[in-house]
Amino acid sequence: MAALLLEAGAMFAVIALAASVAQRVGQSVIPFYVVAGMLVSPAVAGRFDLPALQNQEFIELLAELGIVFLLFFLGLEFSLDRLLESSGEIGKAGTLDLLINFPVGVVVGLALGWSVLEAFVLAGIVYISSSAVITKSLIDLGWIANDEAQPMLGTLVYEDLFIAFYLAVLSAVLIDSGDFVDILLDVAVAMGFLLVLVAAVYLGTEYFEAYLDVDTEELFVIRAVAVTVLVAGVALAIGVSEAVAAFFIGMGFSSTDHLHDLERRLIPLRDVFAAVFFFWIGLNTDPAVFGDLAVVAVLAALVVVTTPTKVVSGFFGGRIYGLDDRRNLRVGLGMVTRGEFSLIISSLAAGAEGSVVLSETIPAVAVGYVLVMSILGTVLMQYAGSFERFVVDREPSEPTAD
């Protein structure tokens, strides 16, 4: 017991240190959590005979809770009514983003000689921008009050909604490596379960409302955590993505009066568990894989191919919102960051252990990819002004033409 508590303490100390360093250098915390996990893993610290953190079961549990709470919060942001209200522009910009970035991942995967399933996993990883990092940068840079915030947040919403269904399908396919009929059956069970959840969300607002209508803050938090974790656990037990289940529970609460209290009271929980999740990803990654030429080549190819595609899709997504080209460029540069969901997808693939590509190559590539893209994306946003000149400098000739 003493050893366990000591390990937990050491883990949080390392995470806190990583967060402080990230803050000091003005970067997103996610890559720093991942790298911190790598550094104290048996693969690195252990190799130098330093005290290393073992991948204990309790860390995995906390990391799992991290995924659940990340998706729960995502669901909280989705009120069905609000979503339908602004579906026009979000729908167009989001579909454009999907049609450009998702197929790119599939094509790169197939070009590497991977199976359709493996390419499908890779496509998800490169498609999904990081809501957490991008939103934080938007606030830090003050863009949140500008017009470019709308297409960026709108596209993130579309991506997140897509990824919820993507995860549902992917987990059903990955968990069963049997024949086609089995897979279909699993997808059907998953969809059936999700349909029940969606129906509950749609019809059960008053039950969600009453459930959290309690007097004490303590009971409120405990009830919210209980239903979220329990439903996620049930989902996982019957072969449905726990993340997606948590997403729908969040969605169920999004149209209640408790929305604001939930966000305020559970944010600390989410932040703690999500940090452990990113740390755990690092803990399970042996940096030696980056010495593997194949992994590095795939990684480099992905960075080179998928950075411009996001800039392009973001740029034209901004045009759909009727912004000027300077802001369109910002939308494009801002969408480059990939983060938490790419890691969630890769951890799902790693857990399935279907093939070497799924269980080893893709997780390694995903970790490297998120490290590069989260830093690259944040830097691109910080120095957007330098890139804007390319667009704006040409503009003086245009007004005379007008």
Partner: protein, 180 residues
């Protein structure tokens, strides 16, 4: 006034208030309760003015709303006795030309037509109906009775801070006196 409201998924809500002259006040209310206030001119980037916590912004909000204090200008600085006669409070600032001089010396009544009917002294009781030998000090508040124009001339004299200003005022004085 037009207020534009939009959702910021994952962040909160944004309100844009038109201020005229192509300027907008942008208020971002975060889900955490934090408020950020920006100003934006035309197509420029928003400039952040300040940010407040949830509680502080409620307080500031009710101050702006006037719940704590309603300014009533006419009662605060002047009282109308009839259409053209006012009772006005005039503060004597440091360095004012009238500071250190007696009422007789400054001679408001003959120069402007307005009368100093009382002097509020800092940390002392108000001196009502001050005599001609009463000396004006910096920090005093003169309560002046007279026509609107006359009161304004007194204000200009009291706020003048070098002799030249006082001289030019003196030249204008006869007019004021005639009006009164």
């Amino acid at each position: 006034m037009t207020v534009y409201e939009s959702d910021l998924p994952g962040v909160g809500k944004k309100f844009e208030i038109e201020l005229g002259d192509d300027e907008r006040l942008v208020v971002v209310i975060h889900n955490t309760g934090k408020r950020e206030v920006f100003r934006r001119t035309g197509d420029e980037d928003s400039v952040k003015l300040f940010e407040l916590t949830d509680q502080l912004s409620r307080q500031v909000g009710s101050i702006l709303e006037g719940a704590y204090f309603q300014p009533v200008t006419t009662q605060e600085t002047e009282t109308m006795l009839d259409e053209n006669t006012l009772l006005e409070w005039v503060k004597v600032v440091d360095g004012s030309d009238v500071a250190g001089r007696t009422l007789e010396d400054v001679d408001f009544r003959n120069r402007t037509g307005a009368t100093v009917v009382a002097i509020q002294r800092e940390d002392e009781e108000t001196e009502s109906n001050p005599g001609p030998e009463t000396r004006i000090r910096a920090g005093d508040t003169l309560i002046v009775l007279g026509a609107r124009d006359a009161c304004q001339t007194v204000e200009s004299m009291v706020s003048a801070t070098d002799e030249a200003d006082l001289e030019t005022l003196e030249e204008r004085d006869p007019d004021s006196r005639d009006d009164a």
